[in-house]
């Protein structure tokens, strides 16, 4: 199936990401319907014109009409949903997701789905420090990365469809990692950075910081305002990889600490030059994307 052959899309879970997908896909001409928990969210989305209709029930007609189903749920809710209702999905449907961790999800889901239903996993690296469909906005995809996470059970056809979905959503770059690579990468790039921001904010209770701050603290702690339900689940679902990245980072931090303690200016400057060189490489890479 090509993206041009898809007409009916079903989004399950209408939050910040589900809503942003719905807005962009509707704008691109797809017929988007949803299944989600709250009636008000459906009413809002219908009124705003970015879904056709929706249900708070597990509606078999909505499920069987859809050629493409996108799950935008928390990892454990996603698994529970497919456990209970996965058998309702008809053969030929392609299923994808937005889940932030993959090791605890992808194999399970692929095992549970009926024959002829293919699950191709993806991680849109986009978000906001607010949640809910009211804050959804496909603009967040514009400078963001989209990672497709296939297994050896995926067909080239579904992988290509998933890449096309990323492009249709307007992501700046589409790439592919396997499950283990994805979870290690995300442990470092996303989970560790949230750990750092939370720790930094927990280390100092002075309510006047804002009067003395520069940009660096402001930027580092933007993500310290964190959805504790979602992120505790993400951290614990990727525990081994995250602990390993935290260890690696702590080693570097301790090395820098020692250079300061020992007045070892040369090693300190070496670390700073390494850091600068790597960040410059990163900047160059951004220009290419």
């Amino acid at each position: 199936m090509k993206i041009s052959e898809v007409k009916n899309v079903l989004i399950i879970g209408l939050g910040l990401l589900g809503g942003s997908y719905a807005k962009k896909l509707t704008a691109e001409g797809f017929k988007v319907k949803v299944i989600t928990l709250n009636r008000e969210d459906i009413d809002y989305a219908v009124k705003e014109g970015f879904i056709v209709e929706g249900s708070t029930e597990v509606d078999e007609t909505l499920i069987s009409e859809a050629q493409l189903i996108i799950f935008a749920l928390y990892p454990h809710t996603f698994i529970e949903w497919v456990e209970q209702y996965g058998s309702l999905i008809k053969s030929g449907t392609v299923v994808t997701d937005v889940t932030g961790v993959k090791g605890c999800v992808v194999e399970k889901i692929q095992n549970m789905l009926p024959a002829g239903v293919e699950f191709i996993s993806a991680h849109p690296m986009a978000g906001k420090d607010t949640s809910g469909v009211q804050n959804s906005d496909p603009e967040i995809f514009k400078k963001a990365n989209y990672i497709v996470v296939p297994t050896n059970r995926n067909t080239p056809d579904a992988i290509r469809l998933c890449c096309e979905l990323g492009r249709t959503l307007g992501f700046a770059d589409i790439s592919s990692l396997n499950v283990r690579q994805h979870d290690e990468m995300i442990a470092f790039l996303s989970q560790l950075t949230h750990c750092i921001a939370v720790s930094l904010m927990c280390a100092n209770g002075d309510p006047n910081l804002v009067r003395y701050t520069g940009d660096s603290f402001r930027e580092l702690t933007r993500i310290a305002n964190i959805n504790d339900e979602m992120w505790s689940e993400l951290f614990l679902s990727n525990r081994e990889a995250l602990l390993s990245e935290m260890d690696g980072y702590r080693k570097a931090f301790d090395r820098l600490y020692d250079t300061i303690k020992n007045n070892d200016r040369e090693t300190m400057r070496e670390m700073m030059r390494l850091s600068s060189a790597r960040r410059k490489t990163f900047n160059e890479g951004e220009k290419l994307i």
Copy 2:
């Protein structure tokens, strides 16, 4: 002396900050001259019209004409300059600075200057990840904080003048801290955040991070491209305070690490809620500034 009585300003050191001061003060009608190391920087600034003239020599006329002298040098260069040439500054002149650490600077400078010359220290909390006068831009002051750092040897008159200078430069908020408070605050808000960014970048050499990154890593490591000469000096000049803030942060980070290791979801969520509450307080504070 009020800021309205100041006509001639001398800036010593024409880099990113010196240049940004020069641009804004010239735009506000002051007659700005400079003493700086490189002839090309002077020529550039004269050509661009944001200084009247400048010298690469320690020009006695420039020094004696100025009612207000602003030092925009590295801490040790600032101290060496005043040691060698401070006696040339005439009585009645007010001297200020932009130095990022104060404990190693303020008392020394106040002791060295001739009678009748008052040094009132200040820290503009603004910067960029580039350096040099060619990158100077007074726009960086607009959302930034300006901290005046008086000692018990300062007069109310000079403190007020220094606050007025901050306002004239266009800073969003002007506040005041004593030397010890300033150095502790800066150790936490600015130096620790740079330590974190450098450590994070040193912990992972994968050149493809940019393809998988989200905003959080991008924001946390913007400052990882760091001027190693300046920052190693700033870190070592504020060693005790910085080590202490690194210890405090490391304790919080280790606590979060343990919650993940022990699957202690409740303590983890408590830390995330504390972090979120503090960051919301910070956001509220920003709206007031």
